[in-house]
């Protein structure tokens, strides 16, 4: 069985945002609310040094699909809602999830952004306990009465909520997750199963992301890691700290080379 991971070439990455928004169109994630970002693909920006020698780095982020996933250990249900698939993907079973938030608390890359001001992103987001997701497309208010449409109306006319919802199926999760559930990047397993790359990888205009089997020495990801042994890092938290691969929770998303070409 494979052990899926991703290598992101920072020199190729333009920090353009296409992966972040592309993911939202593929996975129909909600708008941010209550300290939850719902950006399965996001960015962690870092600036080091002072003008004019300041160096800027943009790390595109996603779930690290750690080999030692604390989100799984923290999941209180049995069997756990958060679990490791045979292919290495840290999957999440929506049905078993009770929305307790223990996974978010345990994950070093996740935060409630309202509580953790230093956080730049959160891998795990928690759906509201009270309201259905995509509140904007459930809101019947018209900006100008009788003249402009409303979120609820345009969703009804289009036929889905959200109207641009990409329909896909997976045994563990729905294309829009229900309220009271945790959710996060699952490497687009519904696409991977049919031989496609995760959507963030598909839409990256600089082809900075390479997805593949870390256990296969001949895979593109394994080769990139071998070739870039000196520069490869993983993220150590969701505030821009980096570490050597294999440390901490053993993330399986790796960053090679440098975002800036400056020495």
């Amino acid at each position: 069985m494979a052990k899926y991971g991703m290598v992101i070439d920072l020199l190729k990455c333009a920090g353009c945002g296409a992966c972040g928004v592309g993911c939202k169109t593929q996975n129909n994630t909600d708008d941010a609310h209550d300290g939850q970002t719902f950006n399965w693909a996001d960015f962690c920006e870092k600036i080091e040094g002072k003008y004019p020698n300041a160096k800027y780095t943009m790390y595109p982020t996603l779930c690290n699909h750690c080999s030692d996933s604390p989100c799984i250990g923290a999941c209180p249900v049995s069997p756990t809602a958060m679990y490791k698939s045979e292919n290495g993907i840290t999957l999440h079973n929506e049905e078993r999830c009770i929305g307790c938030g223990m996974c978010q608390q345990a994950c070093p890359y996740s935060s409630n952004m309202d509580d953790d001001k230093a956080a730049r992103y959160s891998v795990i987001s928690m759906n509201s306990h009270d309201a259905e997701p995509h509140a904007r497309y459930r809101n019947p208010n018209e900006l100008i009465k009788g003249i402009t449409t409303s979120g609820a109306e345009i969703a009804k006319k289009a036929g889905r909520t959200p109207p641009h919802r990409t329909m896909h199926a997976h045994p563990d999760y729905n294309s829009v997750r229900a309220k009271e559930k945790a959710e996060k990047c699952i490497f687009c397993e519904h696409l991977v199963a049919s031989g496609q790359n995760p959507y963030c990888t598909q839409v990256c205009p600089s082809q900075a992301r390479v997805f593949g089997d870390l256990d296969d020495k001949n895979s593109a990801v394994s080769k990139l890691l071998a070739e870039n042994r000196n520069s490869v890092v993983v993220l150590a938290d969701n505030k821009g700290k980096t570490a050597k691969p294999g440390s901490g929770t053993q993330p399986n998303v790796f960053y090679i080379r440098s975002f800036s070409a400056r020495k």
């Binding site: 333009a14 353009c16 900006l143 100008i144 402009t148 345009i154 109207p163 329909m167 199926a169 205009p205």
Partner: protein, 851 residues
Amino acid sequence: MKIKRRDFLKVSAAAGAVAVIGGPSLNAFAQTTAPKKKAMGEAAGEWIPSTCQGCTTWCPIEIFVQEGRAVKVRGNQLSKANGGYVCVRGHLLLQQTYDPDRIKTPMKRTNPQKGRGIDPKFVPISWDEAVDTIADKLIELRRNNETHKYLLMRGRYSDHNTILYDNLTKMLGSPNNISHSSICAEVEKMGRFFTEGFWGYSDYDLDKMKYLITWACDPLSSNRQIPNAVTKFQRLLSEGTVVAIDPRMSNTAAKAHEWMPIKPATDGALGVAMAHVILTEGLWNKEFVGDFKDGKNKFRKGREVKEEDFNEKHSYGLVKWWNLELKDKDAAWAAKETGLDRNQIERVARGFAKAAPNCAIWFGPNMQPRGTYSALAMHALNGLVGATDNEGGLVTGMSAPSSSYPKFDAYQDDLAKAGAKNKKIDQRGYKTFPNLASGRPGSGVSANNVANAILAEDPYDIKVAIGYFVNYNFSTMETGRWDKAMAKVPFFVHVVPMVSEMTQFADIVLPSALHHTEDWAIVRSKANLYGHISIQQPVVERMFDVRGAETEFVWLLAEKLRDKGFPNVYDWLHNEYKDPETGKKPTDGLEFAIYATKIRSQKAWDPAENKDYKGDKPSGWEDFRKKGVVNSPRFEFRKKWGTPEEGNFPTATKKFEFYSETLKKALTEHAEKHNTTVDDILTVTNYEARGEKAFVPHYETQLRHGSRTEYPFDLVDMKSRLNREGRSANLTWYHAFKKCDPGDVNFDDVVQINPADAQKLGIKDGDMVKVTSVVGSLTVRARLWEGIRPGTAAKCYGQGHWAYGSVGTKDYAKFEPRGANFNEIMVDDYDRLSGSSARNGGFTGVKITKV
């Protein structure tokens, strides 16, 4: 009963174990079996081609449609301009299509009072009533023989703008088709036109380039070929050299090998100093420019050179340029002017020239007073190293085939012909507005001056105006003038998908179809050495009764005008816009839109017309619709060079002009028209050069509004890579990824200040600050950021809407803006040689105080 998440966390944290679990809401725990095997995969759908116009790239795209809904976007897989990728803007268009605040019906205002903050009290009306009212107003203009008092304002457009913007305006008898181009990037074109006769935007051979200087632009986020730039930069970053010249750390500057944080508006100084270095060190391209007859370099600092000593090849006037401007201006001098490091200036000039001709200066809009001369200095360097029109350099680029629209002349009556001959409303060609587009005095537009002209009724007043996909009350500098001007226009029609600031002044509002998902049109552009013609077609069913602005609206108006006794417009459309396949005449607006689309693209898809074409050749209309794009053949280099004996550049001398005879001719023509001298024209248009210097690329110092003592900061206007022009602020994804603009933050609008400056002012990161210019003040959050030159303050365009949707506006009912639109405090000024509005170069001084 439910256990709230926070309660649960408290309990479990206290117990430190999962053993506390239990209770009524936890029945999920009962499930112990493995998940049921359900199907896995994406539901079926279809990729349908269209074109994104979220910026000026005009990318061929495909939209994934499931159940009749637009759900995903990618670059057209056949496109050679973008390699099948879109930038972030492409993905954003889904939220634009499904914007909860879109207009679903025509409406009219019931409150006759007009002004910022005044509720128009719109009420819904039918298309019939709306267009009937518009037709009445136009007939009235005809009756009173004042058809020239009709004004059409164009914002974003397709090729079909020929119908509404150009032809219809003339058919109605007005000269006033006003485009927004001069608030966009027209000065950039001055740089190439008055050196090599090309009025247009550049393309680049990024695959073969070794050294790239991006100057006053940020190709990774804007400037006309974003996906291509994002894709191709990596090779340059790995194997070549990238230098970014910009007072702020743009996306390109963040990644570049060298960042040159130049003092705003000193670009001309850097340009001429780089030329000085290249010449004194003998690094110019001998093949293109030529050499000294005796082979010995006589370009030495401070020394004049004799013209007869130099044998010039494909260029003209190099020695004149040296003697008039370059000879004393070395890197040490430029370092003082620009605030840059002398060694860096020399290093970059050398590196650039040594990579010649596989190098380019990719220069930006230069929209600043006196900007023409900085654009000229930038492009003159491309000439000096022989990079223009050359492999690995910058080129004019390709275009794709398109057919002409049917002529309207036979249907234009005498009244209309006479009316259309009036002076244009924007005062182009006045003594202070030379507007030398394509070298023709008085031909370029001055869109932002229209507000002044309307208010002064000079040359006359405007009685009926139509604007489509345009929002001058947000997008222009010193915006408040437009609030006054539009309040003065007695009848204004806004044809738009969304209510915006300009809509607040409308008497009639018509909901237009969105170009990328609902309308029929043709768009052409270029990138990556290929030109393309690309389709826009409905990919989803229209959810409301919206119509295509450039076609269907014109049709409806034509019908109404016919019914009121002016059949010419209808006859023109009905008789001339026949389906090229069947010869059938259109019977309604939608048919007209489709036939117009087929007519415009016929050369690209009709086998009878494309059989000898060297680019893509679809087998017919249906095949073109399915593919969506036709790519041209690849650009061929050096066609413009000609021979040293006979140049092929379309300039006055047929050569690449370092001394612009072309500019001299245009300026002289303008001066003669006003019975004066070129020096007098330069005086009244606020340039510093006098005499011969006006015809060579040279350094003009900053023209600045506000004294340095009172307004110490140079305001730097920046553009967001998430801006679908000014239309992204109501998209939640825009706010969720705003930090992708380096220095900016999510869910807020900020002014970027260097921490060293902030410390002196007692400003901390996140403080609210008041930013004041000579024309006004705005309050906005401060972001302390090491990526900005001290003494400058950068503010991104795009937010600060006071009437644009429920997200884009903080409180629409109160017209309370979300963020701050710095256009409001930027001064109404121009690069008058081009007629372009100033926006760049820190020409507006500001002071910043803690609130």
